[in-house]
């Protein structure tokens, strides 16, 4: 059975004003994610990406109320039948703003909190902390205050605090928005390693098409409360007009490929290395001569 199974999920938030209408967000989501798969989720602002993330650990609908229809299964558990703490140990969610989930004095205590609340024995917790902090390359910061770290470091501690619960699934909701490029690279590096080395299933909400293209197994595009597109990065990013129509970006090299294509040749690029290999060999194949300005 896939690690994540979502069947015909419909969800509406409670009305914003008394006597108002429920706010329909998810309108029939069907999705399966296999163990060890890294799936990126894209969608316009306000389409319900965060709502979908919260449905995976049961916060939607348990803490939110509203109208919920359909089924969500994480590691085989139906979210209707299990409380949020149990679900959170199967599907850990990391949010945009790591600081909003910190409340301990040291990095170590922050990472210990999850497993402690699961009732894990103390000796095992120590081992989990050691492991989780080493995975995110933050071992030497274990006695520091989480509030005094850089943005990228904070987000890595947030990831470690989820990892320490040993979930089979990590859900990351725009984990790098607001981070500078260096912080972004730190966080994506950790996510990539998690998938490669630890076989963790990752659902990543992200807008930066270039990064998605580099390391996703699959891309899912949400529009209007439904899954509008699903496929490999190259299947998704070759549909430039459709992506732009939904309001989303494609990698710069994909646009370049389209712009360079003509009657005699077609370029379909998703990743940097593809574009480099193809364009450099095309340049070499031209009749011999020297490039403009050398």
């Amino acid at each position: 059975m896939p690690e994540i199974v979502i069947r015909d999920l419909h969800y509406s938030y409670p009305p914003v004003v008394p006597d108002g209408d429920p706010v329909s967000v998810l309108r029939g989501i069907d999705l399966e994610v296999d163990k060890g798969e890294l799936v990126s989720l894209m969608g316009p602002t306000g389409v319900g990406k965060t709502t979908l993330c919260l449905a995976l650990n049961g916060i939607v609908p348990r803490s939110m109320g509203g109208i919920f229809r359909g089924d969500v299964l994480v590691s085989g558990l139906n979210t209707r039948e299990h409380p949020v703490p149990t679900l959170a140990s199967k599907a850990g969610v990391v949010f945009q703003d790591p600081e909003s989930q910190f409340f301990n004095m040291t990095v170590e205590d922050e990472v210990a909190f999850g497993p402690e609340s699961l009732g894990i024995p103390a000796a095992d917790i120590a081992e989990r902390i050691r492991w989780a902090l080493s995975v995110v390359h933050m071992s030497e910061y274990r006695n520091r205050s989480p509030f005094q770290l850089s943005g990228g470091q904070k987000q890595r501690v947030a990831i470690a605090s989820i990892l320490a619960m040993k979930p089979g699934i990590m859900v990351l909701d725009e984990p790098t928005s607001g981070l500078d490029p260096m912080g972004k690279s730190e966080v994506f590096g950790v996510v990539h390693e998690l998938k490669q080395r630890d076989d963790i299933t990752v659902l990543l909400v992200e807008q930066e098409a270039e990064r998605i293209a580099e390391f996703s197994d699959r891309v899912i595009v949400m529009d209007d409360g439904r899954i509008a597109m699903t496929g490999t990065p190259s299947e998704i990013f070759s549909q430039i007009e459709r992506m732009h129509g939904i309001g989303l970006a494609v990698p710069q090299v994909s646009e370049l490929g389209r712009d360079l294509s003509d009657e005699t040749r077609t370029f379909n690029f998703t990743r940097f290395d593809e574009a480099y290999a193809s364009l450099s060999s095309a340049a070499t194949l031209e009749p011999s001569g020297k490039g403009a300005d050398g």
Binding site: G183, L248, Q252, Y276, A292
Partner: protein, 278 residues
């Protein structure tokens, strides 16, 4: 001061609390009508610097002149006529019951009333595509719209200079492009634009000049094209150039230039080397 300089910063120092030095002797001239991107790591001093332009922060030592006026001698209210400031989170500056009232708030505070006020508000609503939403409460609109309203409400004050602090964070591609197209048209109308951002695609697409901050000081201040040519500067500040700029540099041995900033420029250069080969 030279007639074409709108912001002058002289040996500006600033400390948070007593111990953290956020700006270390910054000297800077921004020309009237320029489009300047302010880039650098988190904590490099970007937001601290621009908050001096509208008087939200006052120098520990040194001087900031805006339109020739010392920010220590004129109030935030008076500076607001010259400098419009769009904050990172639109919800920190949106609080009125309708979009129209929200957009009218700034100019009304500047003392405008009657037809002049109405004219400005209508023009701003029009420019930002908000006419049909004029009577809607901003709170129920989507994040992208609330962001546009926050920029429109600053625009209605007709400041000579716009400071935009990470205006596209949280926006999808369509909303980002639509906002930046409007910013570009404001620039074409003669407004000075100061854009704080981590998005190097935006910097390369829109900003003529780039100011690179590191550790509270200026590492480089030059035409964006010159800055992105200099790999060592980018490396030193952890800035990753857009994919397309990197690709062109990697292909220099095939005749591609080292200063490509956009997809269009890459295409033109690549077609160019193809032609020269025939």
């Amino acid at each position: 001061m030279a007639s074409d300089t709108i912001i002058q910063v002289r040996n500006l120092w600033y400390r948070y609390r007593d111990d953290i030095v956020a700006l270390k002797g910054v000297d800077l001239d921004i020309g009237a009508g320029d489009f300047v991107a302010v880039i650098g790591q988190n904590g490099s001093g970007k937001t601290t610097l621009v908050k001096h332009f509208n008087g939200l922060l006052q120098p520990a030592s040194g001087q900031v002149l805006v339109g020739g006026h010392d920010t220590r001698k004129v109030g935030v209210g008076a500076l607001a006529r010259t400098i419009g400031f769009v904050f990172q989170n639109p919800d920190h500056q949106i609080f009125c019951a309708t979009t129209r009232e929200e957009v009218a708030f700034g100019p009304r505070n500047l003392g405008l009333a009657g037809e002049e006020l109405d004219g400005r508000v209508e023009e701003a609503l029009h420019r930002f595509g908000l006419v049909e939403l004029a009577d809607s409460p901003p709170a129920v609109l989507g994040f992208g719209m609330r962001r546009k309203i926050s920029v429109a409400s600053v625009y209605a004050m007709r400041p000579r200079v716009f400071v935009l602090d990470e205006p596209t964070t949280g926006l999808d591609w369509r909303n980002s492009m639509s906002l930046m197209d409007t910013v570009r048209s404001m620039h074409e109308d003669g407004h000075t634009i100061i854009l704080v951002t981590h998005d190097m695609k935006l910097v390369c697409e829109f900003a003529q000049r780039s100011l690179v901050l590191r550790d509270g000081g200026i590492l480089a201040y030059d035409d964006t094209r010159e800055i992105f040519k200099r790999s060592e500067i980018l490396k030193e500040t952890g800035i990753e150039p857009p994919q397309i700029a990197e690709l062109s540099k990697r292909m220099m041995s095939y005749g591609m230039p080292d200063d490509v900033l956009t997809v269009d420029e890459f295409r033109a250069a690549y077609v160019g080397i193809g032609r020269s080969l025939r």
